[in-house]
C-alpha cells in the first residue's frame, strides 16, 4: 500500500499545482520592427533600451509624459504620508477616467503636482482611501498637497487590447498577431501612425473620434468586427492605448532613421564590432537625449493636430438634392481623365481599373512592383473598392464618402482630390452611392 499513498500524494500535488506551477512566467513582449533589424547590433540594442525606458514592456508600461496620450489620471489631496502609506481620496480627470477602475490602480505612478514621481501604487482601497506605495523616490509630500495617480487608463487599455485586439494586430501593434496571417485584408500595422479612414484633412492623423468610430462600427468587408457593445470607458482606454502603440512605433522608426546613416549593417560591412559599440555609446551619451525630446515634441505636435477642430474635414457646401443630374455629373467626373477615378475603380466601378493590371511604383520607393496592382504604404497589395457591392469600409454616410474622396484613404493609392469643387465632390459621392442600385437593375435586364 505504501507506494500507492505516495502516488496519491503526488497526484494531489500535481493537481493542485498544475494551474499555477505549469503556467510559465513569460509575459507578452513588444517585437522589434523590421527596420531595426537592419542596424548593427549595438545600435539595435540602443533602440531597444531607449524604447524600453520610454515605453516599458507590455507587462510594465511607462507613461512618457511628453506624448499627447491620456494615460488616465486620478487626482486627490493626500492627508497622511509616512513614506509608504498615504491616505487620499481620488477622482478621475480627463477623458480617460472611469471610477470603476479605482479599485485596480496597482502599477500606476503617483506624482506630485509638479509631476515629480513619488512612487508606484501597490494597493489602493477606494472605500477608505488607503494607498500603499512601492519604489518610493526622493520626493516628499506634505499633507494636504495634491497628488496625481497616472497610468491606470493605459494599463486598462493594455488589458483590453490583449484580450480583444492582440490576436490580429499583434502585441506591439504591428498588425502581425498569430491570426493575422490568414486574412486577405491585413490588420492595420499602427506603427506608422497612419490610419486609413479619418475625418481629418489630408496629411493629418486620425483623431480619437475616428478610432472610436472604427472600433464601434468595425470595418465592413474585412475581419475587423464591430465592438459596438463595449462600454464607452473601455473604448476610450483602447483608443488611448492604440494611439500610444502608434507613437511607440513611430519613435522606433524615427530612431532608425536617426541611426541608419551611421550604423546600418549594409553600410558598415567591413567595420569591426568593437568600434560600433564605442560610437553608439558616444551617440547615446551626446546626441540621443536631444533627439528623443525632439522626436517626442514632433509626435506631440502631429498627434495634437489631429484633434484640432481646424483640421476636421467638413464640406463648405451642403450635399443638396440627389437627383439624376447630379448623378450624371458625378458619372462624368468619374470618367474624366483628369480626375481619373476609373483608372483604378474601373469604368463600371467594379474595382477592376487598368492600374490593377499594370506595374506601379511601390510606395516610398522608385522601384516597380513585381506583381501588377496597387500597393499601400504597408506594402500590401490592395484592391480598389468594388463600388457595386454597396460595402463601404470607412462608413456609408454621404459625409464618409465625401471625406474619402476629398482627403483620400490615408496610406493608400487612393489620394485626396483637393482640386475639386465641393459640389463636384458631392456629385461624385451621389454617383458612387448610386452604383450598387444601378448595377443591380442592370443585371436584372
Amino acid at each position: 500500500m505504501r507506494p500507492k499513498v505516495h502516488l496519491l500524494k503526488l497526484l494531489v500535488a500535481a493537481i493542485v499545482l498544475s494551474p499555477f506551477g505549469c503556467t510559465s512566467k513569460r509575459g507578452p513582449e513588444f517585437a522589434s520592427g523590421k527596420q531595426t533589424g537592419l542596424l548593427v547590433s549595438a545600435a539595435q540594442e540602443l533602440v531597444r533600451s531607449e524604447l524600453k525606458s520610454s515605453f516599458g514592456t507590455p507587462t510594465s508600461l511607462v507613461a512618457w509624459q511628453v506624448l499627447p496620450v491620456d494615460y488616465g489620471v486620478f487626482e486627490g489631496k493626500a492627508t497622511k504620508f509616512n513614506g509608504q502609506d498615504l491616505v487620499v481620496s481620488l477622482k478621475g480627470i480627463g477623458s480617460n477616467a472611469a471610477d470603476r477602475r479605482l479599485s485596480n490602480l496597482s502599477g500606476s505612478v503617483v506624482t506630485n503636482e509638479a509631476g515629480v514621481a513619488i512612487g508606484e501604487v501597490t494597493h489602493y482601497s477606494p472605500s477608505d482611501g488607503a494607498m500603499r506605495l512601492s519604489n518610493t523616490g526622493e520626493a516628499k509630500i506634505e499633507s494636504d498637497t495634491t497628488v496625481r495617480v497616472i497610468g491606470d487608463g493605459l494599463q486598462f487599455g493594455r488589458d483590453l487590447y490583449l484580450r480583444h485586439c492582440m490576436h490580429c494586430h499583434g502585441v506591439s501593434g504591428d498588425g502581425d498577431g498569430p491570426t493575422a496571417k490568414y486574412f486577405a485584408v491585413k490588420p492595420r500595422d499602427y506603427r506608422r501612425g497612419t490610419f486609413k479612414f479619418t475625418s481629418t484633412v489630408q496629411g493629418v492623423r486620425a483623431s480619437r473620434d475616428d478610432l472610436k468610430r472604427i472600433i464601434k462600427l468595425g470595418i465592413p468587408g474585412t475581419y475587423m468586427p464591430s465592438f459596438m457593445l463595449l462600454p464607452d470607458d473601455e473604448i476610450v482606454s483602447l483608443v488611448e492605448y492604440i494611439r500610444w502603440l502608434s507613437m511607440r512605433g513611430e519613435v522606433e522608426n524615427s530612431l532608425y532613421i536617426e541611426l541608419s546613416n551611421d550604423f546600418s549593417t549594409e553600410a558598415n560591412k567591413d567595420k569591426a564590432r568593437a568600434e560600433f559599440k564605442k560610437e553608439v555609446d558616444n551617440f547615446a551619451a551626446s546626441q540621443l537625449p536631444g533627439k528623443m525630446s525632439e522626436i517626442g515634441r514632433d509626435l506631440a505636435e502631429t498627434w495634437s493636430a489631429s484633434e484640432d477642430e481646424a483640421n476636421l474635414l467638413l464640406p463648405k457646401d451642403a450635399r443638396g438634392n440627389v437627383d439624376g443630374d447630379s448623378i450624371k455629373r458625378g458619372r462624368e467626373l468619374f470618367l474624366n481623365k483628369d480626375v481619373g477615378c476609373f483608372s483604378c475603380h474601373g469604368e463600371s466601378g467594379r474595382g477592376n481599373g487598368v492600374s490593377t493590371e499594370t506595374f506601379n511604383k511601390l510606395p516610398n520607393s522608385t522601384e516597380l512592383s513585381k506583381v501588377p496592382g496597387l500597393f499601400d504604404d504597408w506594402g500590401n497589395l490592395v484592391k480598389p473598392r468594388d463600388l457595386t457591392t454597396g460595402i463601404y469600409r470607412g462608413g456609408r454616410r454621404p459625409l464618409d464618402i465625401y471625406r474619402r474622396i476629398r482627403a483620400g484613404i490615408k496610406g493608400t493609392p487612393m489620394q485626396g482630390f483637393s482640386r475639386l469643387e465641393d459640389q463636384q465632390v458631392w456629385d461624385l459621392t451621389n454617383y458612387v452611392l448610386s452604383i450598387p442600385f444601378k448595377a443591380h437593375s442592370e443585371s436584372k435586364h
Binding site: 497526484l11 503556467t23 484580450r163 498577431g177 498569430p178 486577405a184 474585412t222
Partner: protein
C-alpha cells in the same frame, strides 16, 4: 463442479504448448492476423489516443478557466508558438483544440476501442470460433487506423503549428467547404477528411468481418439466442456501421472534391468570404448536415451499444444472476439500431429545415428513448436479488448505469423541439453527450479492461489501483460534466474561446475553474489506469482460465488463449447467463460449455 473445470486448473500451461507456431516476431505481433493480437493492438492504440484526446480536452478546459492566460506546455511543445504573446493562445488555436479533441476521441478512441479492441478480441472467443472469418481483412482493418492517425497527426503540423482542422468535428460547410472561410484549417481540413475516410475503411472492414464471423462461425449449439449480449451488440453495431458509413464516406469525398476540385455541393452562390470574390454555384449547406448526421447519429449508437452489451455480461457475472429479460435486451438493442436511422434530424432542429420534419424527428427521437429505458430497467432488474461483489469491474458497470440514466434523461430536453430551440449548441448538449460517451461508454470500457484483461494477458489487474482510478475518475468526471448542465441552462454556448466577453456569462467563470480542476484530476487519474495496465502485464497475479467464475465460452479457453483459441473445441449447451442455477449444485455458475449437467438432469448419464 464440472470435470472440465478441474481439467483446466490442472493444466494451466497448456496454452504455451498449443500456442507456439513457428512465426516470426513481425507476423506474430505486428502484422498479426490473430484476432487477439489485433484486438490488443487496437486497445493499446486507443488508450494512447485517449491520452492525446484528453490532453487536448485539458487545453480547452484551461482556456475556459483561465482565458488568455499562458497555456501550459504549448510554448514548450511547439518550440515557441505564441512566445511573443506571452503564451496566450490564439482563438483559432482554441477551435483547433476542441475540433481535434472530438475527432480523436470519437474516431480514434471510442469507435475503435469498442468495435476494434473488444469486438476483435471477444467475438471469436465468445462464439467459440478459432479466429475471425477473414483474418487478413482483420489485420488490414487495424493497419488502416494508422493512415488515419497519421492524417490526423499531420493535420496538426502540415499548415504550420498554428494550423489544424478548426471547424468542429461536424465540419459544417460553408466554414469547412471554403478554405478562405477558415483559413487556419486549409490543407489540414482536407487531410482530416481523408483521415476520416481511412477510419471509415477500417471500420467497414471490421464490420463486414464481424457480421460474417457471427453469422457463420458460431460453435455447435451456439444459437442466436444463446449468444452473449456482447455479441448481439457487436452484431447490431456492425450492421449499423455497414449501412451508415457509406453515406459519410460519400459526403466526405464530396467535401474533399468541393475543397480541392471546385465542385459545388454545399456552398451556395454570392457569399463574400475573407474579401474574396463572391462564390458561384448553387450548393446547399444543409445537404452536408443531413448526410453527416445520417452517419453520425447511428454512430452515437455505434459508440454505445457494444458498451451496453459488455456491461450486461459483466454485470450478470458480478451479481451472479441471469440477465433480467435477455430477449427484451436483444430486441431493445435492435430497436435502438432501427430507430437510430430515422432520428438524425434532431441535430438540426434549429437549422431551418422544414418544420414538419422537426415534428417527425421529435417523435422518432422520443421513441428511441424507450428501448434505452427498457435496458436501464433490465439492468436494475439484473442486480435485483443478486449477490454482488464490488470490485473495479462492478464499480464501473454500476457507474455506467448511473451515468447512462443521466445522459439519457438529459436527452429528453434535446429531443423535444421547443426546448431544444434554447438548448441547441449550448453546454447542455456538451453535458449530455459526455454523459453518454464518457459516462456510459468509457466507464463500460474501464470495466471491460480489467474484466477481460486476464483473458488477454493471463494476469489480473490490480484491484486497489483499479478502484482508486475509478473513484478519481468518477469524481473528476461528475465534477467536470455535471456543472455543464448548469452552464447550458444559463445559455452558455459551445465552442467559445472567451465566453466572458458577454456580460451575461461573466459570473460563470468560477464554475468553469472548478470544472477545469476536476478535469485535471480526471486527466491525471488516467495515468493510474495506464500504470495499472502496463505493470499488471509483468507483475499482476497470474490468472487461471476462469478467474470470475463466468459462464461464457471465452472462459473455457486458456488464459491467454493460444493460436486457434480453444484447446478443446467448445460445444455450447445453454445461454450465457445461467448463474446461480439450481442445476449446478455446488457452484453458482454453469458454463455454456458444461454438458454434464444437462445430461445428468435429463437422466441420460
Amino acid at each position: 463442479m464440472s470435470h472440465i473445470q478441474s481439467e483446466m486448473q490442472s493444466e494451466p500451461h497448456l496454452t504455451h504448448e498449443h500456442g507456439h507456431h513457428s512465426q516470426g516476431f513481425v507476423s506474430q505481433y505486428v502484422f498479426s492476423k490473430d484476432h487477439k493480437v489485433i484486438g490488443i493492438q487496437f486497445l493499446m492504440t486507443t488508450l494512447l489516443m485517449l491520452l492525446v484526446g484528453g490532453a487536448l480536452a485539458l487545453g480547452v478546459r484551461f482556456q475556459l478557466a483561465w482565458p488568455w492566460r499562458a497555456m501550459p506546455l504549448v510554448y514548450e511543445l511547439t518550440g515557441g508558438l505564441f512566445g511573443a504573446e506571452g503564451g496566450q493562445v490564439s482563438p483559432e488555436f482554441y477551435t483547433m483544440l476542441f475540433t481535434m479533441h472530438a475527432s480523436v476521441m470519437i474516431f480514434l478512441v471510442i469507435i475503435p476501442i469498442l468495435a476494434g479492441a473488444f469486438g476483435n478480441f471477444l467475438i471469436p472467443l465468445m462464439i467459440g470460433a478459432d479466429d475471425m472469418a477473414f483474418p487478413t481483412l482483420n489485420m488490414l482493418s487495424y493497419w488502416f487506423m494508422w493512415p488515419a492517425i497519421l492524417c490526423f497527426g499531420l493535420s496538426f503540423t502540415i499548415g504550420g503549428l498554428n494550423a489544424a482542422p478548426a471547424n468542429g468535428w461536424t465540419s459544417y460547410p460553408v466554414l469547412a467547404a471554403v478554405v478562405q472561410a477558415s483559413p487556419s484549417a486549409g490543407a489540414p481540413q482536407t487531410l482530416w477528411l481523408i483521415g476520416l475516410t481511412f477510419v471509415g475503411v477500417s471500420s467497414m472492414m471490421g464490420s463486414v468481418n464481424y457480421m460474417t464471423t457471427i453469422i457463420n462461425m458460431r460453435a455447435p449449439g451456439m444459437t442466436l439466442f444463446r449468444m452473449p449480449l456482447t455479441i448481439w451488440s457487436m452484431f447490431i453495431t456492425a450492421i449499423l456501421q455497414a449501412f451508415a458509413l457509406p453515406v459519410l464516406t460519400a459526403a466526405g469525398f464530396m467535401l474533399v472534391a468541393e475543397r480541392t476540385l471546385g465542385f459545388k455541393f454545399f456552398v451556395p452562390g454570392n457569399l463574400v468570404i475573407n474579401d474574396g470574390a463572391p462564390t458561384i454555384g448553387g450548393g446547399q449547406p444543409l445537404l452536408w448536415q443531413h448526410l453527416f448526421w445520417f452517419y453520425s447519429h447511428p454512430a452515437v449508437y455505434i459508440m454505445l451499444l457494444p458498451a451496453m452489451g459488455m456491461v450486461s455480461d459483466m454485470l450478470a457475472c458480478k451479481v451472479r444472476k441471469p440477465i433480467f429479460g435477455y430477449k427484451p435486451m436483444v430486441y431493445s438493442m435492435a430497436a435502438i439500431a432501427g430507430l437510430g436511422f430515422i432520428v438524425w434530424g434532431h441535430h438540426m432542429f434549429t437549422s431551418g429545415m422544414n418544420p414538419a420534419l422537426g415534428m417527425t424527428f421529435m417523435i422518432s427521437t422520443m421513441m428511441i428513448a424507450l428501448p434505452s429505458a427498457v435496458k436501464v430497467f433490465n439492468w436494475i432488474g439484473t442486480i435485483w436479488g443478486g449477490k454482488i461483489s464490488f470490485d473495479t469491474v462492478t464499480l464501473n458497470c454500476v457507474a455506467f448505469i448511473s451515468m447512462f440514466i443521466v445522459g439519457g434523461l438529459s436527452g429528453i430536453w434535446m429531443a423535444s423541439v421547443p426546448t431544444d430551440i434554447y438548448f441547441h449548441d449550448t453546454y447542455y448538449i456538451v453535458a449530455h453527450f459526455h454523459y453518454v460517451l464518457f459516462g456510459a461508454t468509457l466507464f463500460g470500457c474501464f470495466g471491460a479492461i480489467p474484466f477481460w484483461y486476464p483473458k488477454m494477458f493471463g494476469r489480473l489487474m490490480d484491484d486497489r489501483l483499479g478502484k482508486l482510478h475509478f473513484v478519481l475518475t468518477f469524481i473528476g468526471f461528475n465534477g467536470t460534466f455535471f456543472p455543464m448542465h448548469m452552464l447550458g441552462i444559463a445559455g452558455f454556448p459551445r465552442r467559445y474561446a472567451d465566453p466572458y466577453i458577454h456580460p451575461y456569462m461573466e459570473h460563470l467563470l468560477p464554475m468553469n475553474r472548478f470544472m477545469t480542476l476536476c478535469a485535471i484530476l480526471m486527466g491525471f487519474a488516467q495515468l493510474i489506469l495506464i500504470f495499472n495496465f502496463v505493470s499488471s502485464w509483468f507483475v499482476g497475479k497470474r490468472s487461471d482460465r476462469n478467474p470470475w467464475n463466468a459462464n461464457g465460452l471465452e472462459w473455457s479457453a486458456p488464459s491467454p488463449p493460444g493460436h486457434g483459441n480453444f484447446d478443446v473445441p467448445p460445444v455450447c449447451y445453454r445461454g450465457p447467463y445461467e448463474y446461480s442455477s439450481p442445476l449446478s449444485a455446488n457452484s453458482d455458475f454453469l458454463m455454456q460449455t458444461d454438458g454434464s449437467v444437462e445430461s445428468r438432469s435429463s437422466g441420460h448419464h
